[in-house]
C-alpha cells in the first residue's frame, strides 16, 4: 500500500514537472541580440508584397546582407497572427494601427510601427441591400466582424450622420462567411472589406453607401515589430525596411516585371492581375519611403485620436483605462499623443529615412 502510494505520488510529481515545463515554454521571449526572426502576415491586398518577397528571394537577399535569418509566416487567421505576436512568439506582424493599439499595446507589449505600407482608401465598405442611402441603416441588423476595422468604419459613419451604434443592431459575423451570409434573406446590411466587398457588390441589389475613402489615413496597414527587439537588433529593422521598399520599387515600376509581380500577388490572394489592380485602386499604397515619411508628418496625431476614442468606447484599451488617452502613442517626430508615462505604440521613420537616403 505504502509503496504504491509513494510510486504514484512520484509519477504525479513527474507529471507536474512536465506540465510546468510545458507552460514555461510559454514564457515571453527575452529580448536580446539574436539571429533568427519570425514575422507573421496574412492575405490582404496591402500585404501581398511580403508574400511575394518571401517567395522570390528578396527576403533572403536582405537577410543575408545583414547576416540574419528572417522567416515570413502566413497566417490564415489574421487575429491569430497578432495574438502570437502579443504572446511573444513572433518578432513582427502585419496589422492595422487599430489592432496594434488594441491587442499588443493594450496587452502591455511595447510595439513599433516600422513601416506603414498603405491606408485603406475604399477597401472597407458599408453595403445595404436594396437601399442606397446610409441613413436607411437606421433600425437594421448590421452583420460585421465585431470590434474589427469594419466596426470602426460603422461607428465613424454613424457619427458623421448624427447617429450612434444604438440606432442599429450589430451581429458578429465571421469574415469567412460574409459572402454566404449576404445571400440569405435576413441579412440586409453589412460592413466588410475587400475582396468580399468587390464580390458582394456584384449583386444587383447591393449598394455601397459608405466606404473608407471618406476616412483617409485612418485605417493604416503596417508592419508592427516588438520595440525591444528592434532596439536590440537594428539589423532586423534595416532588413525588413529594405525588403519592403525593394518590393515596392519592383511592383510600381510600370514595366513587365511590375506586371508579373502584381499578377503573382493577385494569384496568391485568389484573384488575377485585373482583380488585384481593382483592389489596389481602393488602397493608397506608399510605394516610396518619402510617401510614408510625408504621411507621418501630416495630421497623424488627429487620426490616432479617432482610433483611441473608438477603442476606449468599446473597452478595448483594458479595464484600467480611464480615458482614450490611457495609452500614449509616440509619433515619428517624438511627440506623444496621450499619456506620456504609458507609451506603448510608436511610429518610427528612422529606417524609412535610411531607405530614402540609400543607406540601407
Amino acid at each position: 500500500m505504502t509503496s504504491f502510494r509513494l510510486s504514484s505520488l512520484r509519477t504525479f510529481a513527474a507529471a507536474l514537472v512536465a506540465t510546468a515545463l510545458a507552460f514555461t515554454a510559454l514564457s515571453p521571449a527575452h529580448a536580446e541580440a539574436k539571429k533568427d526572426f519570425k514575422v507573421g502576415w496574412s492575405i490582404y491586398v496591402g500585404w501581398m508584397p511580403w508574400g511575394y518577397a518571401m517567395d522570390h528571394g528578396i527576403v533572403k537577399k536582405w537577410a543575408d546582407k545583414y547576416d540574419i535569418n528572417i522567416e515570413l509566416v502566413q497566417f490564415n487567421d489574421y487575429i491569430e497572427g497578432i495574438n502570437q505576436f502579443t504572446a511573444g512568439a513572433y518578432d513582427g506582424v502585419m496589422a492595422t494601427n487599430m489592432d496594434a493599439l488594441a491587442i499588443p499595446s493594450a496587452g502591455g507589449v511595447d510595439s513599433t510601427i516600422l513601416v506603414i505600407g498603405d491606408y485603406s482608401d475604399g477597401n472597407d465598405a458599408i453595403i445595404l441591400k436594396g437601399k442606397d442611402k446610409l441613413e436607411d441603416i437606421k433600425g437594421q441588423k448590421v452583420n460585421l466582424v465585431e470590434l474589427s476595422v469594419s466596426h470602426y468604419v460603422l461607428a465613424r459613419a454613424l457619427e458623421n450622420i448624427g447617429m450612434s451604434e444604438k440606432d442599429v443592431t450589430v451581429v458578429n459575423t465571421s469574415d469567412a462567411d460574409m459572402i454566404a451570409a449576404y445571400a440569405t434573406p435576413d441579412v440586409t446590411a453589412m460592413v466588410t472589406w475587400n475582396p468580399m466587398v468587390a464580390e458582394i457588390l456584384k449583386e444587383k441589389d447591393a449598394y455601397n453607401v459608405y466606404d473608407s475613402k471618406k476616412l483617409p489615413g485612418e485605417i493604416q496597414d503596417s508592419l508592427v515589430v516588438n520595440t525591444q527587439t528592434m532596439k536590440d537588433n537594428p539589423a532586423f529593422a534595416k532588413a525588413m525596411t529594405g525588403i519592403w521598399y525593394e518590393t515596392m520599387a519592383l511592383m510600381s515600376g510600370g514595366d513587365a516585371a511590375a506586371e508579373a509581380a502584381k499578377a503573382a500577388m493577385g494569384e496568391a490572394s485568389g484573384t488575377d492581375l485585373a482583380g488585384y489592380e481593382e483592389q489596389l485602386a481602393a488602397t493608397k499604397m506608399f510605394y516610396t519611403p518619402e510617401g510614408y515619411i510625408g504621411f507621418t508628418e501630416g495630421n497623424l496625431a488627429e487620426l490616432t485620436q479617432f482610433v483611441s476614442k473608438f477603442l476606449f468606447d468599446h473597452g478595448l484599451l483594458g479595464q484600467d483605462a480611464t480615458s482614450p488617452d490611457y495609452i500614449g502613442i509616440e509619433l515619428a517626430d517624438g511627440t506623444v499623443v496621450g499619456n506620456a508615462d504609458n507609451v506603448l505604440l510608436r511610429y518610427t521613420t528612422e529606417y524609412a529615412k535610411m531607405a530614402a537616403e540609400g543607406k540601407l
Binding site: M1, A15, N83, V109, N143, G318
Partner: protein
Amino acid sequence: MRRLINRQPDVVVRFGLMLIPFIAVVIAYMIASEARLSANPNDKLLPGWSTIAAAIERMAFLPDQRTGSYLLLQDTISSLTRLGIGVAVATLIGGIFGVLQGLIPYFRATFSAFTGVLSMIPPLAVLPILFIVFGLGELAKVVLVAVGIAPFIIRDLALRTEEIPHEEIIKAQTLGASTWQIILRIVVPQMLPRLIDGVRLSLGAAWLFLIAAEAIASDSGLGYRIFLMRRYLAMDVILPYVAWITLLAFTLDFALRLFQRIAFRWMYRGN
C-alpha cells in the same frame, strides 16, 4: 494476490489521487503566469487570479455599461436555449427514426444507408448551405446542433433496437400483439433509457456545434463571447467562460444520468 490490478486505494487516497492532476495544472498555470507577469504586468495570455476575478465580477455580477444586462447570464440563457431546443429536436427525431429503423425491415431498407451517409457528412463543412436554407438567425443555430447530433442518435438507437432479443418480439406476437402494440409496449419502454445514453454521449458534439454556430454569426451566447474576446486576447474572460461551459456540460450530463436512474429504475435492478 498482491498484484497492482488487485490493489484498491481507500476512500481518502482515492479522493487525494483524484485531486492531484487538477492541482498540478493549477500550480503549473501559476508558475507560468507568474513568469510572464513579472516580465510584463499587462500580459494577456496567462492573467493572474486577481485579473480573472475582476473579469468574473464584471461579466457575471455587474450590469454591462452599454446594454445594462448581465452578460454572463444573458449569454448562458441564449446558449442553453439554443442547445436545449436543438438537442430536444434531435432526441425526438432520433427516438422515432431509431426505433423504426431498428425494428421495421422496410423502413430500415429505405433509411439505413441514408442515415449512415448523412452521419458521415461533417456539418461544419455544409454551413453555407445551412445558411442559405435556414438563414442566419436563431433557427440556423438550432438546426446546426440538431443536424449535427441527430444522425448519431438515430444510428445508436437503431443498433440498440436490433439488440432486443428476437424471442421477446416472437413471444409478444404469439400473445397477439400488433406491430403498433409491440412498438408501444415492448420496444419504446426499453429504448427510452438507451436514448438518454445516446443523448449523453452526443452532448459534447452538441456543444461543439453550438459554439461553432455562435462563432459564425451571433449577438449573444457563450461561444459568441469567447470568439469576440479572442479578438483581443482577453484570456481573463475566456478562461472563466471555458470553466463555466465545462461546468454546465458536466451538470447537464449528471442531470441526465440522475433522471435516467430515477425514471428507469428497473434498469439498475440486480446490480
